[in-house]
Symmetry: C3
Subunit: 268 residues, 3 copies
Amino acid sequence: MSTPFSWIGELVTSIRAHKPLVHHITNLVVMNDTANITLGIGALPVMAHAAEEVEEMVSLAGALVLNIGTLTPTQIESMLLAGKRANARGIPIVLDPVGAGATRLRTESALRLLKELQIAVVRGNAAEIGALVGVAGETRGVESISLNADRTLVASQAAQTFSCTIAITGATDVITDGQRVLVVENGHPLLASITGSGCMSTSLVGAFLAVESDGLRAATAALVAMGVSGEVAALKAGGPGTFRSHLLDAVANLDAQQLQQSQRVRQA
Amino acid sequence: MSTPFSWIGELVTSIRAHKPLVHHITNLVVMNDTANITLGIGALPVMAHAAEEVEEMVSLAGALVLNIGTLTPTQIESMLLAGKRANARGIPIVLDPVGAGATRLRTESALRLLKELQIAVVRGNAAEIGALVGVAGETRGVESISLNADRTLVASQAAQTFSCTIAITGATDVITDGQRVLVVENGHPLLASITGSGCMSTSLVGAFLAVESDGLRAATAALVAMGVSGEVAALKAGGPGTFRSHLLDAVANLDAQQLQQSQRVRQA
Amino acid sequence: MSTPFSWIGELVTSIRAHKPLVHHITNLVVMNDTANITLGIGALPVMAHAAEEVEEMVSLAGALVLNIGTLTPTQIESMLLAGKRANARGIPIVLDPVGAGATRLRTESALRLLKELQIAVVRGNAAEIGALVGVAGETRGVESISLNADRTLVASQAAQTFSCTIAITGATDVITDGQRVLVVENGHPLLASITGSGCMSTSLVGAFLAVESDGLRAATAALVAMGVSGEVAALKAGGPGTFRSHLLDAVANLDAQQLQQSQRVRQA
């Protein structure tokens, strides 16, 4: 059997060997889950948002996660401070534009971060990514309802517009850097039953970016890790509450061989 | 067998059909649980508190949840902005006056929200509701210890004073709009063993208000849903930690028939 | 069999009899877990951080927990207000200097709290406590990697410098008031697999301080309670996610006899 994407398993092994620090400036709703999943994959999370310390903190980190799920103007300023320092030091950034399209503050803040910072990967749902490139979609709060366009085309357009890797997650995930396109078919419907599974995926992208500079590979490996963990957790869950606990178990128990065997990745 | 309150089961079915957005401006301690229980009952939560976006966000919502558990003066201003917009649009509001009676800031902020906004339902424990109408009680932090008066009388007085539905929760729950009084006897002592079960009940009230304009019915159905879920979860729990996971499972697995069969509601 | 530290079990019984309020001004990442573990041990948590109410709230409390895990300058001011009121009322304070040594803001804020307030107990990891007394160590974000000195010597030096009890937690815990030194060998590696187990330990110290004025005893009992609970939870856990749920179960199910039989405490 060929394992066309053998780097997926290898990257998990690398995270566990290096234990990179992943600095988060992130939303308050799932801060605990995003910290725990970062620990589970083998990295070290730190949540720090005060303008007085974010530049110093990010300088210690292997990656920076920016998530606007409960944004305020003050928090966006901290994101810009941390992001500029990260860019100056060559530390990769992943952005989660939670709720872009739902309010002007969210859309404009995401676009401002994309304009003023060099972002390695943007991970969002279809409506959020669509909103960044002006493609009409329906978002209800932070939930994507529909997108009036082909997801792969929207992802490619966004990747070219922002010169970064775009990951649109959903029942299947589309990842593209504007040239290459990969599709991840791992996952389980229970992932959509808990709040913050998207944010957790973004945190995993941060952990993988800390050991892999190719954003397409880092994002793909993260989404495979999330999807496979969701599949494992679903076997033990009785609903969303127990699913969440088993999901964190599954991420921590992932190994390289399992990722190679369970991955469902294809080129689009 | 008669099912005197057949609307309880029907309302859950309605939430799941309509998936209303429930906008929360809420406390930081149980934000994750309140988001997850809102998803579990079939609605879509969004937590957004920045003054710059709350009016726009609430305009998209089917209900607004205001919870002062970790209030600040800035947050209260956002609540007033969102609340006024909600009132103008006919979007119902549920208020959780967490810790009213414990500090002046909490009592006064709750009263200010009740004065400046038209609130559909207030859900609190006995001491909190007592504090809003000047009835002496003992509150320890955010926990109700005792109330020096009959709970039904206090609830009725508050309902008349504030022209809204009042729900006092505890071992049994009393719900009144000042005219009608219903008592819910569902529930389990483990609900009191976890932080935020009151706040989670309030979020459920928000979800039901989004599909039912009668505050008495919405609050009663929410408290039955919470109580029945607690009973189911308790059968599987080994303590408060596993109880919380099973509670979220149980809410997500609720169905209309189960609610009809398990409800213990009576007129007072 | 002798039970040299019979007060450990007795203190748990005392917390459950008195249900003291434990006021937290704490970090946003594990606020839910710290509230739930405080409830589990038998105390009542309240999280309140607004400058407008912290003095009033702490006056109702049996202990004050200050945790700088997601500090801001505004939050530090609230900590000082609450702390001064606590000192004036004889209410004991426990400080968790999360990430001291990682950024200047964290180190300086922790030192300022130690200078302006009379702190009963400081609980931290080796690198954090080392940073407070200028001993070089390696901290990665909020994780302690190494300390270039003997932990007991560093703890003793810090205890003498700040005239308080110091608890350094890790695979084994060292607790000292500068004179007496106790070592706790309870615990399990899974405690290090979840975020906030240190913060949860600090909250337990707060609960014990509310019923025991000897900081050495309060901290030791808290760390035994945490360690024994971790051992019990590990027997049922499949990974960090389920471990966290079982940990909260185990804390709530602790009893005095179990603590006496399972404690592994010795004088250094």
